[in-house]
């Protein structure tokens, strides 16, 4: 790794100060992506500002019917949380399937969504569940947050503090794993919300996570796996690589959507 300077501030303000004082600083959350990239010498931040020392960023609680998950909460904590399991069991199961056990002990929800890897699980979950991303300066609806391949609405010095997820009893995520990396080749999250069905897809889109109107319309009128049979899922705009063509991904979107509905 290239030399870097490590900071562990205990407040959001201190974190922002540390970052703004750095030549080329980066926030560090779970580090499961960033540190691997640094090991490859493909990233060389001058400073790492670790947000895990900020107490406001940890913990899971209910705020009425809304789950509030601190940004520095690990995947394992979300998976095991009684609140998440009762308010939104689909999200708990999604978290339980990210990476592997050791990664789940380190990786955080805030880190995952700030990175917005096009094959990550959380972006699909939060988009389908109509979550709100809370930062130190504002609240951003998931629909406005995920802007494409590794791109989010976050400003450089903006910190995600928590994620607000409306309780949702009927939601599930079905992931078809890329066999080598175990990231999603196609991951589909379906949720039955007050505004109808929401379906978000990760792993497949050339521009990252996206919602699928056709599937949403079909499920809004008939929440059943068979409702998906008649939906046309186009391969246009889907990724193609050695692990799966766009056509294969299109097929998997339907298959995984049906399995998610069955599991919800």
């Amino acid at each position: 790794m290239y030399p870097t300077k490590y900071h562990k501030p205990d407040s959001v303000d201190a974190a922002i100060t540390a970052l703004s004082g750095a030549e080329d600083g980066k926030f560090l959350a779970g580090g499961q992506t960033l540190l691997a990239t640094m090991k490859q010498h493909l990233a060389a931040p001058s400073d790492l500002v670790d947000v895990r020392g900020i107490s406001d960023l940890s913990g899971i609680r209910m705020d009425g019917d809304t789950l509030v998950i601190g940004a520095a909460t690990t995947h394992a904590e979300v998976a095991a949380s009684a609140d998440v399991n009762s308010a939104c069991p689909g999200l708990a199961r999604l978290a339980a399937g990210i990476g592997d056990p050791a990664v789940r002990h380190m990786g955080t929800i805030g880190g995952s969504i700030a990175n917005n890897d096009p094959a990550a699980c959380y972006p699909a979950g939060l988009l389908a569940l109509n979550a709100t991303i809370v930062t130190n300066s504002r609240e951003i609806a998931a629909d406005d947050f995920f802007l494409g391949l590794f791109t989010t609405a976050l400003e450089e010095d903006e910190i995600i503090t928590s994620v607000r997820v409306p309780a949702c009893a009927k939601a599930a995520y079905a992931k078809f794993r890329q066999p080598a990396s175990l990231f999603a080749l196609v991951g589909v999250c379906v949720a039955q919300t007050a505004d109808g069905a929401r379906v978000a897809i990760t792993g497949a889109g050339e521009d990252g996570v996206f919602r699928h109107e056709g599937l949403e319309a079909a499920l809004s009128s008939d929440w059943s796996a068979s409702a998906i049979d008649g939906v046309e899922v186009s391969a246009d705009g889907l990724m193609s690589d050695i692990h799966g063509s766009a056509a294969y991904r299109a097929n998997l979107i339907k298959v995984m959507a049906k399995r998610a509905v069955a599991a919800a």
């Binding site: 790794m1 290239y2 030399p3 870097t4 300077k5 490590y6 562990k8 560090l28 580090g31 499961q32 540190l35 691997a36 640094m38 090991k39 490859q40 790492l48 670790d50 895990r52 394992a76 095991a80 990476g99 592997d100 056990p101 050791a102 990664v103 002990h105 380190m106 990396s181 175990l182």
Partner: protein, 157 residues
């Protein structure tokens, strides 16, 4: 350089290390605890798994500096009073290792999974063991005997 203090295998340790030092390097190069191995650089093989505050983590994917004050347990620290840990014993009883390189990570992952399943009151089936091992790669054994070893150790832990 930052002075990093931890409790490693029950002993307080403290070393001045560069900020970018990974926990795996801190253990291997600075503390010379070479039982923790590094088999990949994309955080997938799991040869470097240790326990931090009682949970399995990949030591190649954590900065030592971020673990100031942590309790760290490595493969060198799980045998107690000269007695092998049941997981260690099970690996040799079931021929769960060949070249031995992935073994420390496998054993540390095995201990962690059994602890978690026991704490949560869940049944650790062989299917569950296989899925819990998804972050650990072994090239020698074909996993058959590793799964049997974890299964056996789980019954004895």
């Amino acid at each position: 350089m930052t002075k990093i203090s931890m409790n490693v295998n029950g002993k307080a340790v403290s070393r001045d290390v560069p900020d970018e030092t990974l926990l795996s390097d801190y253990l291997r190069e600075h503390l010379r605890l070479t039982g923790t191995h590094v088999g990949c650089d994309t955080s997938q093989c799991g040869a470097c798994v240790v326990h931090v505050n009682g949970r399995a983590v990949k030591s190649c994917s954590a900065l030592a500096a971020s673990l100031e004050g942590a309790e760290v347990t490595t493969i060198e620290g799980i045998a107690q009073n000269g007695e092998l840990h049941p997981m260690q014993q099970a690996f040799t009883d079931h021929h769960g290792l060949q070249c031995g390189f992935c073994t420390p990570g496998m054993i540390m992952t095995g201990v962690d999974m059994v602890n978690r399943y026991k704490a949560e009151g869940r049944d650790l089936t062989t299917d569950a063991i296989r899925h819990e091992l998804e972050g650990n790669i072994c090239r020698c054994t074909g996993y058959h005997n590793i799964v049997r070893a974890v299964e056996d150790a789980a019954a004895k832990m």
